[in-house]
């Protein structure tokens, strides 16, 4: 993997991210908060996240399921992202190293 490939990837992803951030502001006259397109954009992330987690748990096996479950429970209780990431990650690592 060449450094130039990674640099190009970072630039392309950076442009994509900024286009999303600035695009909404610049195109605001054409997007209605209550329009169908706006609704589709609101619905997409949650469904993508679920699909992503499902496929990831399938490949990661039991440690990934345990880590994900602990992260979800911690997030539901504390509503603190950093606490949920830490707890879930720790649980997954323990499960992986102990062969659960």
């Amino acid at each position: 993997m060449r450094n130039s490939e990674i640099t190009i990837l970072i630039v392309v992803l950076g442009i994509t991210s900024y286009a999303m951030r600035a695009g909404g502001y610049l195109l605001a006259r054409f997007i209605r908060d209550d329009g169908n397109f706006a609704r589709l954009l609101r619905l997409a992330p949650g469904n993508l996240f679920v699909a992503f987690v499902s496929a990831g748990c399938l490949s990661g096996g039991r440690p990934m399921l345990i880590g994900g479950g602990v992260a979800l429970a911690t997030m539901a209780i504390t509503t603190r992202e950093w606490a949920a990431v830490g707890a879930g990650f720790l649980a997954a690592m323990i499960a992986s190293s102990t062969g659960i």
Binding site: L13, G24, L27, A51, G56, G67, E81
Partner: protein, 242 residues
Amino acid sequence: MAMTISNQRRDPDQLSPFTVAELRRGFVAALPFILSNGTAGAVMGLTYKGLGLGFAQSVSFSLVVYSATAQAIVVSLWKLPLPVVAMVVACAATNSRYLIMGAHLRKMYGVVRQRDILPTLFLLADASWLMATADSARNRPDPGYLLGTSLPMAIGWIGGTAIGYACPGAAGIPLGKVAAMLPIIFIVTLLPSQWRGYRTAGPWMVSALIALLCAPFLGASWSMLIGGGCGTLVSALRSGDA
């Protein structure tokens, strides 16, 4: 994320002030994010180290892309040769929520000088948008406040990535496992913010089922996009935002 839209909006043709006082007030209000974003950023730094990226590349990722969700998704798709198209599509799809946030900001602030708003939008984050939206219901909307709240979040995330990468204790951690587990755990923590009640369950089950069926044949990247796309379509065909 619950899209709570403030009722306080400006005349679309009125020039909105961008004040240093509001920038300072937003910065102070968001200071705790240096710690929380720094923690998550440090884990991302460890992950990049596990993938074999250099220090400058790792920090550049967090600086230029500056999206924890998109970065986590991209890391999960990492393989050789790099699936660039899938990565860009996933990045755009996961960040599409910023289109709505940006459109809402335009309506909330009215006209803002481009030299003020365009750099501010570069640092737009979910939490800074929420803080600015909530604040606009109590105070006069000011884009300076949005930039002020965004800065500690960016400092935490980018600085955390650098610290995590440079952390000497990282030598004892199986970094390959870190790289595989972190993105999924990170995305799991975002799920509660996307839950809109029991009506969300159906589309989410469709997303999960299609992704699980596709994963053995198409790999993680395309199964996510196809599964998520099917779930989104099911959601869109029903009434309401669930």
